[in-house]
Amino acid sequence: MSAPLVLGIETSCDETGVGIVRGRELLANIISSSMAEHARFGGVVPEVAARAHLEALEPALRAALDTAGVAVADLDAIAVTAGPGLAGALMVGVGAAKGLAVASGKPLYGVNHLIGHVGADLLRPTGEPPSPGLDEPTVALLVSGGHTSLLLVRDLIDDVELLGETIDDAAGEAFDKVARILGLPYPGGPEIDRAARGGDPTAIRFPRGLTQHRDLERHRYDFSFSGLKTSVARWVEKRADAGEPVPVADVAASFREAVADVLLSKAVAACLDTGTSRLLLGGGVVANARVRALAEERCAAAGIALRIPPLSLCTDNGAMIASVGARLVAAGHPPSGLAFGADSTLPVTHVQVV
């Protein structure tokens, strides 16, 4: 059998994504974001996101089929994010995927969003050299506004272990909140990146959550960013109360350094502890210049091979879901059937739902 042609739908947060892949070949990756609609609220509003998904989905489906030059009838399977994510947002994608599947008689796979971020690295656009493929095992650090997870991927579709995750805010959320504290617009990631230019990352020593000796026993690979955010707020308020100017560049650079430091310290520790010499980054926070730079630095120092998929495949997208779907089809996994629902807390050990 030639590589499976799969359409993937992603609606777990604020991007409506439809992608089409043939095995590891990326044929279409259409993303429609409702980010601008959330800007004045300083964070993703679930109902606003869900409404935007319903408006954007059908046009995105048409655009993806057009771009790939295929018809629904040509597909080998349909894949959709079943979770984790925002329940109401996920349900729009699940509803649409079921409509497509029943109308076309194509098998349907309900796929795990986090596994999708890992599967993204398998894809390369038509005409580019193919992805070398995922060297398994690999440690994956997935960081976005919705999740912060550290995975040990022994086999993408058969053996993924959750090493750790955030116990409060996602890292991307912390960027948004600190941006607000500094009077910067949403989304916070690029704003903090910009503001940090010329700032001194060592100016203020902000706390690194769950890195103290006593925390490491229970939370070796877990993250916490809520204390960091509060600490930045406290520092800024104190300055402002004293009538002193707030050195925005230094605060932004020091905050960003704290986040990058804790992310990469834990990711590198996970590689070393598990004897895995490969680290894969995924999620929107990968767009952050300092996170990428520090990842390169630390991985080089530790002799770890670093992989970062192209940015358009790092943020949430449907192609990454199709990629996992294609791998499931190729491995002969049975489809999910039609009875699954959206599971906002789907564990990463469930690559596909049943």
Partner: protein, 204 residues
């Protein structure tokens, strides 16, 4: 022959035909399981009716009013189904289907239809019989109101389900008379609940 879907209350799906009536219908009343049940219901009505997807002339979807999360599931499924099948989508006000069922069953005169809008409110629509083409004449609504602010008038049906077969038959009549709506905006009737909180101080 068309496929009809409504998820404004429970989940209801049917295949109907203008000449032969209801060929198959399925409903699940549970107001929280739309995403789980929609696929199997669609597959079941297609199998039972024996309808080939290519033989359908359109897909009718209930646009609500209805609680948002569930409402979107049916509309999303209907639009995607229609895309895959290469068929047009017809949007229908869900309350109109309840009114049609009432009048088609021998009811007459004024009619008030209400459905649960949660948060101790009701969605309502007010009707005055069928027009010359057999389409319910909606004179007010759909709207959302506190129970004591819902207007009185004629018979009242507090509906807990919207039968897709009625929605489908109504869509057939609308299409036959050239009045089928291409608008597919869900009838949310409420803006998303968002409060814009100012950043809070963390020090006293």
């Amino acid at each position: 022959m068309l496929l009809a879907i409504d998820s404004s209350a429970g989940t209801s799906v049917a295949v109907v035909d203008r000449d032969y009536g209801v060929l198959a219908s399925r409903s699940v009343l549970d107001p929280l399981r739309h995403a789980e049940v929609i696929g199997e219901l669609l597959a079941e009505v297609l199998a039972e009716s024996g309808a080939d997807v290519s033989a359908l002339s359109a897909v009718a979807v209930g646009l609500g009013p209805g609680p948002f999360t569930g409402l979107r599931v049916g509309i999303a499924a209907g639009r995607a189904f229609a895309l895959a099948a290469g068929k047009p989508v017809v949007g229908v006000v869900s309350h109109d289907a309840i009114a049609l069922a009432h009048y088609a069953g021998g009811g007459w005169g004024e009619l008030l239809v209400t459905t649960d809008a949660r948060r101790r409110e009701l969605y309502w629509s007010h009707y005055a019989g069928l027009d010359e083409l057999g389409v319910p004449r909606r004179v007010a609504g759909p709207a959302v109101a506190k129970p004591d602010a819902v207007p009185a008038g004629g018979r009242r049906i507090d509906a807990t389900e919207v039968p897709a077969e009625s929605l489908g038959l109504l869509a057939e009549r609308l299409r036959a008379s050239g009045r089928a709506s291409t608008g597919l905006e869900p009838l949310y009737l409420r803006s998303p609940d968002v409060t814009l909180a100012a950043p809070k101080r963390v020090t006293g």
